[in-house]
């Protein structure tokens, strides 16, 4: 093991920190989130730094970095509460297509993801079915030789409205899962875009006999299950690093506040009970950061059961520590922590929803129980 950043990783992290400081300040970030459309300039900046093609192979226009490089990059994105679809597109869709796409599909889509030209989202959740990954409400059936019709509903599609292309899971006439590429401007598609608690967006997407060419099928059967699982694994790993970065920055913000705010004639930072609380928060952040490394390591772990265990554990810890740090950061800010005027609330909400993405605590505990 070697925990030192490579020269490339260090440079990338430094550049990202500067970019995030300059371009993802609270006001700019909130404005972009409220706009409900993807800000081209912000997206291009992320692409130009190599964030979107980070782990895409050099043959396909990416940087070909190892999965571990997700950690330094997504820590920085988490510090800035980046709300652009880096994880759905640059991480999950890229990993999914690399896992199961034909050579032609990889050639078509991976360079486009890396350059930011393609914005993709993975539509796998269905209403009323929580985190189940086996499709059931979305169905495909052949209507002509090379055309399928897709019908049904997906929801909670992270950045579904910003994406031009979705990777949709559906079941075929034999009740086997299929992964399809569907263009957002295809006929028979209805999108309901909703803001989320943490100022990103998600979409409910209804398909009504949406025609899909047979060559848009990415994978079927077990290959489709495996590829979707890979996408979620990569999403979890990136999210764990993002959460650790958000915790790290939130600690800094809270320390600054405690040093500045005075009550009873002295800075809040001088009260031992608050110092100890901050120490507890730091301990939680360090645990979560360590588990973000575990999650990234899991992406290269060949043993299936061990990989599942590592990712479920990391996800649990990110959610638990994130909630603890966020709750206490608000508490230490007192009334000011409850307002929308400070950033602390933005970090609180992002760290709160970490649990809700890609399987909550109950799901992860069930995974661990099944492996025990």
């Amino acid at each position: 093991m070697d925990f030192a950043y490579t020269e490339e990783q260090r440079m990338l992290a430094d550049s990202l920190r500067r970019l995030v400081q300059d371009e993802w300040g609270m006001a700019a970030r909130r404005e972009r989130a409220a706009a409900a459309t993807l800000d081209d300039r912000a997206w291009r900046q992320l692409a130009e730094l190599g964030v979107l093609g980070l782990t895409i192979s050099a043959d396909h226009g990416g940087f070909g970095e190892a999965p571990a490089s997700l950690v330094p990059v997504h820590i920085e994105l988490g510090r800035g509460l980046i709300a652009e679809p880096v994880i759905p597109s640059g991480v999950m869709s890229a990993a999914l297509i690399a896992a199961c796409g034909s050579a032609a599909m990889q050639q078509r889509w991976l360079p486009a993801i890396a350059s930011g030209e393609a914005v993709m989202a993975v539509a796998y959740q269905e209403p009323g079915r929580r985190y189940e990954t086996e499709p059931s409400l979305c169905k495909v059936q052949p209507v002509q030789d090379d055309v399928l019709h897709l019908s049904g509903v997906k929801h909670l599609v992270w950045h579904g409205a910003a994406a031009q292309t979705w990777i949709v899971s559906a079941c075929d006439v034999d009740d086997e899962p299929v992964l399809l590429l569907v263009s957002a401007d295809a006929p028979g598609v209805k999108v309901l875009d909703t803001p989320t608690l943490d100022r990103t967006r998600c979409a409910r997407i209804e398909f009504d006999r949406t025609p899909v060419k047979a060559d848009a099928v990415l994978a079927q059967g077990q290959a489709a299950r495996d590829a979707l699982a890979t996408a979620l694994d990569w999403g979890v790993a990136a999210l764990c690093a993002h959460a650790a970065g958000a915790m790290e920055r939130l600690l800094e913000i809270t320390i600054d506040y405690l040093k500045t705010r005075k009550q009873f004639g002295q800075p809040l930072a001088s009260f031992q009970v608050l110092q100890h609380r901050m120490a507890d928060m730091l301990v939680a952040k360090e645990m979560a950061l360590s588990m973000a490394y575990v999650a990234a390591a899991a992406l290269s772990e060949p043993d299936e059961a061990q990989r599942r265990r590592m990712l479920a554990s990391a996800k649990l810890e990110a959610a638990r520590a994130g909630r603890f740090v966020a709750q206490n950061a608000v508490q230490l800010h007192g009334g000011m922590g409850m307002t929308d005027e400070l950033e602390v609330g933005d970090y609180f909400k992002r760290l709160t929803v970490v649990d809700q993405l890609f399987g909550d605590t109950a799901e992860q505990l069930a995974v661990l129980q099944a492996l025990a």
């Binding site: 929580r130 909670l156 909703t194 709750q327 007192g334 922590g337 409850m338 307002t339 909550d360």
Partner: protein, 396 residues
């Protein structure tokens, strides 16, 4: 000692329950149970319905138009109304300035203001906290200088709950800048329509607007609107905060939210089974039920022992009540699971018939969780309450 409910108490509970189920307007009930936001008219309507029944001031003695109920009857009333989905009673008049006027106000102030509280003819708000004075309330800086038969008030109040609807504010001001901070404080009643009063909304992290900043610039307040004596405001303020802290235990709120929680757990399934049947979830619900049971008995003990002027035990209630309210909101959010992620602020404000993006109960779960963080901050933070317990109960 007799620890069982008497026949009278049981009959009283039935009577309140029947009344609340019968008379609480359906639209208000629906908003409350779905965690949508209430507006001024919703509160006023419910207060008037209560007054029509003769229950408009359930915490007041009969001589001031109250019901004269004892602490146990009040508790039964609160819990049953909350369980039925009634709005909380506005505390600003009934539980805050009302009791202060009864104890320390002149007969003139009592006659002028108390009757108008019951039907919310006057909506009151609390001018306590300031930007630099939260937990350290005694450091407040809003000045009041005597000018003939008026005080001229300058300063800024903050976290003023529902000030956007208020007609009057009871306000702590500094009338004497010399000496010990607590000694120079007086309490004034300020007409919110006075020139120089400006109310500005504070958006909170759940996207709501419950709290405000109130700016006071050369506001002229008649000396006759001072409560009690000049320089004694801190005594009145502490008396009022003691009242606030027993109410702040939120027992009725806890009972209602527990019911909502169980209903959500019964109606939300995970992998084909209601979450209520999940043993991990059942354990957590059981723990919260135990917490609420203990909170209720604690509240009864404190109320029976101290009556109207609870002492530092109120801090115990405040700490546990706020933690339980937060736990309930967190569990509700966990039951909503992925559906708690989308959040449409418009839905929170909309009429109950509006169709939200997800299941109704999930739509407000994230915002509710965020909003409930306030309970361990307002009315004296948990840290401040622990300081009170250490000093006054432990003698440290």
């Amino acid at each position: 000692m007799d620890l069982s409910w008497t026949a009278e108490e049981r009959a009283f509970r039935e009577k309140v329950r029947a009344f609340a189920n019968d008379r609480l307007p359906r639209d208000i009930r629906e908003k409350v149970l779905k965690h949508q936001r209430l507006h001024r008219e919703d509160y006023v309507r419910w207060h008037c319905i209560l007054d029509d029944q003769g229950w408009g001031a359930p915490t007041w003695p009969e001589e001031f138009g109250g019901t004269g109920w004892n602490a146990i009857e009040r508790l039964i009333f609160e819990v049953e109304c909350f369980k039925a989905g009634a709005p909380r009673l506005l505390p600003f008049g009934l539980s805050m300035i009302g009791p202060v006027l009864m104890k320390y106000g002149s007969a003139e102030l009592q006659q002028r203001f108390l009757p108008r509280i019951i039907r919310v003819e006057d909506w009151w708000c609390q001018g306590y906290s300031e930007p630099g004075s939260g937990s350290d309330l005694a450091s407040l800086k809003t000045r009041a200088e005597l000018d003939g038969d008026h005080y001229v008030v300058n300063g800024q109040k903050t976290w003023t709950t529902l000030a956007q609807y208020a007609d009057w504010m009871f306000c702590l001001v500094r009338t004497n800048p010399e000496g010990k901070a607590q000694r120079g404080i007086s309490m004034l009643l300020i007409d919110m329509r006075s020139p120089g009063v400006t109310v500005r909304p504070i958006r909170t992290l759940d996207g709501g607007h419950d709290v405000n900043e109130v700016w006071l610039e050369d506001v002229r307040v008649p000396v006759a609107n001072r409560v009690g004596e000049e320089g004694q405001g801190w005594t009145y303020a502490k008396y009022l905060l003691g009242h606030e802290r027993t109410g702040i235990a939120g027992l009725g709120h806890c009972h209602r939210e527990l019911n909502i929680l169980k209903e959500m757990a019964a109606n939300t399934s995970r992998q084909g089974r209601p979450i209520l049947e999940d043993s991990r979830m059942r354990d957590r619900i059981s723990r919260i039920e135990v917490d609420i049971m203990a909170l209720e008995m604690l509240l009864l003990r404190v109320a029976a022992a101290r009556g109207d002027a609870p002492g530092p035990e109120a801090s115990v209630l405040k700490i546990r009540g706020s933690e339980i309210q937060q736990d309930l909101a967190m569990l509700q959010m966990e039951i909503a699971g992925p559906d708690a992620w989308p959040y449409d602020p418009d839905w929170m404000e909309a009429e109950a018939s509006f169709q939200g993006p997800g299941p109704d109960m999930a739509a407000a779960a994230g915002a509710g969780y965020a909003d409930m963080r306030k309970t361990s901050i307002y009315g004296g933070t948990t840290e401040v309450q622990k300081g009170i317990i250490a000093r006054m109960m432990l003698g440290l």
